[in-house]
Amino acid sequence: MAGPTVALFATCVNDTMFPGTPDAVRRLLERLGCTVVFPRQQTCCGQMFTNTGYFDEAVPSVRTFVEAFDTFDYVVGPSGSCVGAVRHQHPMLARHAGDAGLERAVGELTPRVYDLSEFIVDVLGTVDVGAWFPHPVTYHPTCHSLRVAKVGDRPLRLLRAVEGIELRELPDAEQCCGFGGTFSLKNPDVSIAMATDKADHVVSTGAEFVVAGDNACLLNIGGVLGRRGDRARTIHLADVLVSTREQPTTASATTAGRAR
């Protein structure tokens, strides 16, 4: 059975800093029968600009996004935040640009943009991706996955189906980790206080890994864990789901693997 062709939206942070994650998405989706392509014009969702108040500066990102992806039926990204920004903010930015053509293109494209967990559960119609990850983990739902992309419990359903995994509940799971993009630089003290709470909660579970659908949040949480020398590491959902007995994901391959 030939699966659908998927355009991989790597996101600029993953593309630049965490190439292992989009690569895990590629391998995972290919294992599930999809054809994965990487449209080369893609750059960024622009939310770094939008959320700092720089709408004009975000518009080029909207244009490159449309150019890169408008011919595909399925655009899949491993980030609730970036996918959420595309779906929720690109229409507003296109309107801001006063470009009716862009607005129309954005309107047609955004319903075809999926977070990885949505694509697997809703489009491929499965929660068991044949993964094996024999570790105690805890799941941080990340604010934008939860409240902007609204992925719901899809990531948890995918994790529960992973063979060998032990899922531990994260206290105050839905509380923000304090990253908030440029918030972490504009209000570093508050951001650090929040990240410290999140790291403490992760540590309190005794889990080996904290899993999330967003590497930016994991960069923040993992930054504190790494600095403090805590045992817990961060790992992207895609890196868990791609792991099999034959090709297990190792701690050194994960985001925090490089931050300690």
Binding site: T16, T64, C143, R147, C176, V190, R258, A259
Partner: protein, 505 residues
Amino acid sequence: MTTTNLGMPTRVRLTPAPPEGALIDSPPFPQAAIRELGKDTQRANLRHATHTIRTKRQRVVAELDHWQDLRSAGEAVKNRVARHLDTWLVQLEENLTRAGSTVHWARDAEEANRIIIDLIRATGSDEVVKVKSMATQEIDLNEALEEAGIAAWETDLAELIVQLGHDRPSHILVPAIHRNRTEVRDIFLEEMGRYGTPPPEGLDDDPGRLANAARAHLRDKFLRAKVAVSGANFAVAETGSLVVVESEGNGRMCLTLPQTLISVVGIEKVVPTFADLEVFLQLLPRSSTAERMNPYTTIWTGPTPGDGPQDVHVVLVDNGRTRALADPSGRAALRCIRCSACLNICPVFEKVGGHAYGSVYPGPIGAILNPQLRGVESAVDRSLPFASTLCGACDDVCPVKIPISDILVQQRHRIVEAKKAEAGRKPHLEPVLMKGGGWLMGDARRLALMQRAANVFGLVGGRTIGRIGNWPVPGLSRWLRARNVPMPPTASFRAQFDKTRGGQR
């Protein structure tokens, strides 16, 4: 009594002096936040209080199957109000007048305060008892009255704690949320006797005994006062009725005992019909105190001969509200019913408390409302929309579905535009950086070039140090002083994909 000396003849104050300086001159949020983060007791108090109320709210909201419908109804009523505010206000004025209330219009805080002072002076009284009211906090009525030689006594327990503590409210609903009961006891012992009935000997920090001390202290003020000042949670256009929702009964005392009642009401508080209250009297208590129903709801429609206040005044205040209404991207903030659910759920508020926001409206609602009501000229108002991670927790709890995160982003845009307009006159680095970033992301080839530079750094750094630690890089040390960052990889994803797959398109 304390005295203030501002280089003028020393004047004896009638009421406890709040901290010096105007709120609008507060330091920007990031600086104020650092100051507040350093207060360990306050942090513990805030953490405990916000988590307790959050859990309770969640529980009572979950009881109602139609909670989301109620929110939508609240949103719809308030949108209807905003769409035809002029119509409702004229209708409200007519019906207030018909019921025997006297209506006054105030463009701003100064005008409102002047009207109220004149009304009180006309009664010959030199003191008032007050029902907890955000509108009077907003216009800084107490200090205006103090200067006019009129003593304003707060009668809400938490407002009393704040007033006696020479403090400022740090929360819309629980103004003394930053205090614990030991601190309250100390404040009562120190200050109460100076302004009326003293606390009983040997007062301890038992909540019941503290409340009794406050009750005794307030009792003679209630019985003595000839004038009360209140706000209103709702003003019903159809009937000319005002509504005050409260928990302690102090409001009921103020609203029924004195001869003269002056209510200060923001013009957005109007609701079209009496039936609309059905929606809000369900939304408000569950969202604010996490109660199914609040203990006291007082509704009055003008004076009733021989019963309660005979001289009833309503001051309708604009103070920036029509300016907010004029902005399509921000006007939804006027739907706010001041329940404070957004404060309680906010992880940033939990850390810093209300004093970091330089306004009587702190937390998420303050971050979107202040720049609209006060403008974006002051340093603090320019910083407030950035005092959020955009986590969206507030959006989910707001009983009138204000899209707080979206408005935060729109207000950030407004401030950025103001900064850009100052280009050449004031040095702003950020717009330059953002412009460069926008240019970089406008073309994948530019991004790829930047990535190659990062890869070289990662190649060298990866061999020598492995990760980026506490490096004193200007700007970046804000991140790095508590958080490691991995070295960039030796190849970006796009470069790897090229190698493995030959690229696409």
